[in-house]
């Protein structure tokens, strides 16, 4: 048995300012069993290998999402209850919540949004080209997904910038420092009761509440209307369930896809020969989308808590122990991906965990994100757009999402 000769720390947010700490994760993957990772006076079991993440992710009976929290830190019972969403729940509660919205996100129904998405992508890329390049996040990666998700939700598009800004504050909440005062946006709620411990969650709750009032009086064929009126076993979502759901869809529907689109541009700029391959053979586009998702690994981890005594990879896990699945490591596991540090747009199969490791919590928006990324690439191919990055991208200090705040990109053709 290889013993842990080092004390890993993959939780410091600043560590991610240069991207995923691949070397540390490689060391952790080489250790037999799961690695005990100290954290805030306690610790968690770190699952870094693809196979172990898969085992934990698929076993939602032994590894709970509802106990403790799905982020690294524990929440008190009242906070957990106030913040409970699809993500922090187990079956049958999870299944009940998920079925409220899952139909809107099936691949078949996502196809209905292709034209809307293409129009948005075309507008953003045309702007980017007309300006001769610029901040890819501001011009393309942020506006495309937020405008798509707001259209699906039925939320006014003029509020896109505000909702992107609020999402950025939420990401801050996963780091060590927040720039917002606790009473920002008129917040009076204790921060520990708010998702991401952020007053921006209060702002999103309030915003969602206003949209709710509008839709209650004037229902439409949109996702917000569905959230308000959907009945499961004869019951509608409670106010708290609605608020958390609204916030989750806004956040997850824009931040993660923005991250994927940011990394896509950076990866293609850094690997012009791969981009050329795709330009030469656009039929590679589906595998290209998957490889860029692997590369981006937008959400870097999720936590579970052992509901019973368990064992993974020979490591005994006691009931109540935290177990953290590091997708940002599993997606670069040399046991599964040949030359994982090489971007290969034709990689197939590509069993990456950009949408989680499988199981009932598989990303609700997976097919929406894939569709958006594919359309963006199609439109980039159509424009024969060749990019290069100027200077260094500004990354979000977060161990949770591999966010990019800005990246200056120029057109090299």
């Amino acid at each position: 048995m290889t013993t842990v000769a080092f004390v890993p720390d993959v939780t410091t947010s600043d560590l991610y300012l240069d991207g995923i700490p691949h070397e540390t994760f490689a060391q952790m993957r080489a250790v037999d069993g799961l690695v005990w990772h100290p954290y805030e006076g306690g610790g968690f079991w770190a699952a870094t290998r693809h196979a172990d993440v898969l085992t934990i992710s698929k076993d939602s009976e032994r590894f709970s999402s509802a106990i403790g929290h799905t982020n690294l830190w524990d929440l008190e019972a009242d906070a957990l209850e106030a913040r409970r969403s699809l993500i922090d729940s187990d079956a049958p509660e999870h299944t009940r919540l998920r079925r409220v919205v899952s139909k809107a996100f099936t691949p078949k129904n996502i196809r209905a949004w292709e034209e809307v998405t293409r129009n948005i992508a075309v507008r953003c890329l045309d702007d980017f080209v007309a300006q001769g390049g610029g901040d890819w996040v501001d011009l393309v990666a942020a506006p495309v997904p937020i405008n798509v998700i707001l259209t699906i939700m039925g939320v006014p598009l003029e509020d896109a910038d505000l909702l992107v800004e609020l999402s950025n504050y939420l990401v801050e909440g996963t780091g060590e420092t927040q720039s917002l005062a606790p009473d920002a946006f008129g917040n009076t709620t204790e921060l520990r009761l708010l998702p991401f411990n952020s007053p921006a969650s209060h702002a999103l709750f309030e915003y969602g509440g206003k949209i709710r009032e509008v839709r209650e009086a004037d229902p439409k064929e949109d996702l917000v209307t569905r959230l308000i009126f959907a009945e499961i076993d004869g019951e509608r979502l409670t106010k708290s369930e609605y608020q958390n759901f609204f916030q989750l869809v806004v956040f997850a529907g824009n931040e993660t896809t923005r991250t994927a689109m940011s990394h896509a541009a950076m990866a293609l700029a850094a690997n012009p020969h791969q981009w050329q391959r795709l330009l030469d053979d656009p039929s590679m586009i589906d595998s290209a989308v998957e490889e860029l998702l692997r590369w981006a690994s937008p959400v870097m981890h999720m936590r579970r808590t052992a509901a019973v005594d368990a064992e993974v990879a020979g490591t005994a896990i006691a009931k109540g122990d935290k177990v953290v699945m590091w997708y940002s490591s599993a997606n670069f596991d040399e046991a599964v991906f040949a030359d994982p540090q090489i971007l290969d747009l034709s990689r197939d199969p590509n069993p990456h965990f950009a949408f989680g490791g499988g199981g009932s919590h598989y990303c609700l928006g997976a097919f929406l994100a894939r569709m958006e990324l594919k359309i963006l690439l199609e439109e980039m191919i159509r424009r024969d757009l060749r990019l290069s990055v100027v200077g260094e991208p500004v990354r979000a200090p977060s161990n949770f999402v591999q966010g990019v705040l800005s990246v200056d990109v120029e057109i090299t053709k």
């Binding site: 698929k58 079956a91 049958p92 999870h94 299944t95 998920r98 079925r99 899952s102 139909k103 996100f105 099936t106 691949p107 078949k108 129904n109 949408f355 499988g358 199981g359 009932s360 598989y362 997976a366 097919f367």
Partner: protein
């Protein structure tokens, strides 16, 4: 794809799949892979195999491995000894 334990003792042929209603969370991957055979119900958001359809065993097994929530299993394979599964299922549908 041939290492499925259920597949080993059964001869290749057309198969039906069964969706565990408690496990299905309506991701819709099955519907995407096999639009002619699988559908997610508009109201319940639960997937099922369209009545009267079958799939080549290999494609049915792909559904089993691709389902993110592990809700799909092989129900019956034509020409095999497990046709009682389908009879049972048909009885339930009636």
């Amino acid at each position: 794809m041939t290492n499925d334990t259920k597949g080993e003792s059964l001869e290749p042929g057309n198969a039906r799949v069964v969706v565990d209603q408690d496990k299905c969370v309506g991701v819709g991957k099955c519907e995407m892979l096999e639009p002619e055979a699988m559908e997610v119900d508009e109201d319940t958001a639960i997937a099922s195999m369209i009545e009267g359809t079958v799939l080549p065993l290999e494609r049915a097994q792909k559904l089993v491995t691709e389902c993110p929530s592990s809700a799909i299993s092989i129900g019956d394979i034509e020409g095999s000894q497990t046709s009682q599964n389908v009879e049972q299922q048909n009885a339930e549908e009636r």
